[in-house]
Symmetry: C2
Subunit: 335 residues, 2 copies
DNA sequence: CACATGTGCGCAACCGATTGTTCATCGCCG
DNA sequence: CGGCGATGAACAATCGGTTGCGCACATGTG
């Protein structure tokens, strides 16, 4: 609550001297006695530098905006953890926000960044934000890093090695002897989903297995979508013996639907999903998953943004270490 | 990016006139022509008032700190939704933060509030923050509203009607004919858990049913705790026919453990839990729950903090409307 | 015509911290 | 003893916006 002026008064010096004494600037010529006196006064008065004043002076708000579509999402907590960790290391705060589709969204970003509430943003795109909408919201003036998403004509992204994760899952099934493998993919308009499907196809192809169109279903990323996709899938004349699901929540939805359809997992059908949560572990049967380095994703995105604010150029990064990790549980078994 | 000065220059007036013209102050004596000119210049230059400067001037950061123990928690997403909604209505931002136990935690709050990063905080206490720790962290100087928690010697809290929610759940079981009912409670040191257990006892008592000590187990709030509690409970000589679980995640954990123990739900045991999530709906069997007004909780807490910042006194509020809502699914059935 | 009133606008202080520059003083050396 | 450099501290501008006050001029009134 005490201002620098009050500390200065208490120490009997000017504001500037107080500032230099406390900042510990080596080039500042302050006598040891004065420095001591100022520091004691600051201590006594419980002085904390006013962040608002510093923000104005340095034209830096000291905060990043984290824009996420859905806090409920399984991946969010871990992602946020990484972001928070990194932000804390450099004394930045994380401002949580949501944005609407354009044109409102652009205004919101302008308010956020233009007004200086935040210095830059980390943006995890919404499912219904296609490339065009996203591009329309992100003007070049906004320092932004896209999380697990990428735009053609915009640099600045950190994405998981989605293909590797899905390939790992798919190979796991192949190693178990499965050949008739289906894929519950995300949204066609979403690059993450595209990359994941490519990983699936690559693994199948390198094992010499065909990708059957009827066994590839758009499921979205949530439980409901996974359940719906399973219902469609199970109408096919010939059925797969194993299933790769691009998202853990959809995977849970799939398990739930399968159970209600009377399809036994893993006896009749093996299921593996991408991303790991406590629900996967708790389900009956426990869901085999591929754990993706979400925390690292958050850290790296945050780091890139900070570095960019310090002048470094934005880049496009794929997180390859730590590598996706297969966690075998009860939902997969040899054919 | 353009400053007020630049707008003023473009319009050929002084900063003060530009400020008044744009703020729309009725008492300001500005000619219509000048006002028009300034507004057009602002439009043209894409002027957005610098939030940092305003923050300094008004000694208001325009942000609230939302401090939550665990973003992963089922209740968090909805709570946050309510907070965000309210904050957006008054153009405030929500800064997400975590705090450590004292003494570190107190320093963090000082930095957050004392330095003016946020104007006040909303605090959902961590399980391991007992009253003493919480009190040690919250100095009187910090405008804070406790969410779903309450301290004896500190005013400023918004809590759910926990007792009513648990009573509703308990009565549901009683109405189904159950008389041997157990309770998986939260943490003894947590006032929310205490209120919920009181709700359980009240419902039992008013139906003339005994509360058996062996059927009351501390489960915590997460799946693991619920599962462990079930294992302890099922060692009892006589077993209950129904179970009230104080938290939905613990409820899911309980269902999972019961399934592995071979106890059929709802044939052998009915289960109902507090709070509703998609996992409850998706589980097999779908979990009967009591939906609590978490969004309202967030809104009200946020509102109270804002009002307090405007000068209103803090109070202690219990949210009674909307009332807890029983959502009957497949985990409960008549005895 | 003189004076009171009103109108439109600019000056300058302020919020709190940082920092380039200036100023006064002291000691040292020639 | 005069001049010089080093030292320690204060002055003042700055970040961008807000606002009390005063100034100049136009209009209205007696």
């Amino acid at each position: 609550m005490a201002s620098l002026q009050e500390v200065a008064d208490a120490a009997g010096v000017s504001r500037s001297v107080a500032s230099r004494a406390l900042s510990g600037d080596a080039r500042a010529r302050i006598s040891a006695a004065t420095r001591e006196r100022v520091q004691r006064a600051a201590e006594l008065l419980d002085y904390v530098p006013n962040h608002r004043a510093q923000a104005l002076r340095f034209a830096r708000s000291g905060a990043v905006g984290l824009i996420v579509p859905d806090v409920n999402n399984a991946v969010f907590a871990e992602l946020l953890g990484g972001v928070q960790d990194r932000a804390r290391e450099v004394s930045m705060s994380v401002l949580l926000s949501q944005i609407d589709p354009p044109p409102t969204g652009r205004e919101q970003l302008r308010e956020l960044v233009g007004a200086g509430r935040v210095d830059g943003i980390l943006l995890q795109r919404r499912e219904d934000f296609d490339d065009r909408k996203l591009g329309a919201v992100l003007t070049k003036a906004v320092p932004a890093v896209l999380i697990n998403s990428k735009l053609e004509d915009r640099v600045g992204s950190v994405v998981l090695d989605d293909a590797a994760g899905v390939s790992l899952a798919t190979r796991h099934l192949i190693d178990l002897g499965h050949t008739r493998i289906g894929h519950l993919a995300g949204f066609a308009a979403h690059d993450t989903a595209v990359r994941r499907h490519q990983g699936f196809c690559a693994a199948m192809e390198s094992a010499g297995l065909p990708v059957r169109r009827a066994w590839v279903q758009r499921s979205g990323w949530e439980a409901r979508g996974g359940a719906d996709a399973v219902h469609r899938l199970m109408k096919a004349r010939t059925k797969p013996t194993a299933l790769v699901v691009s998202s853990v929540n959809a995977g849970i939805g799939a398990l739930s639907a399968l159970s209600r359809l009377g399809v036994r997992v893993p006896e009749d059908l093996s299921v593996v999903a991408i991303n790991d949560t406590w629900v996967a572990e708790t389900w009956t049967p426990p869901l085999t998953t591929v754990r993706m380095p979400l925390r690292t994703l958050g850290r790296r995105a945050c780091s890139m943004l900070f570095d960019h604010l310090e002048g470094a150029p934005l880049t496009d990064v794929v997180i390859t270490t730590p590598a996706p990790e297969l966690i075998v549980r009860g939902s997969t078994r040899p054919l």
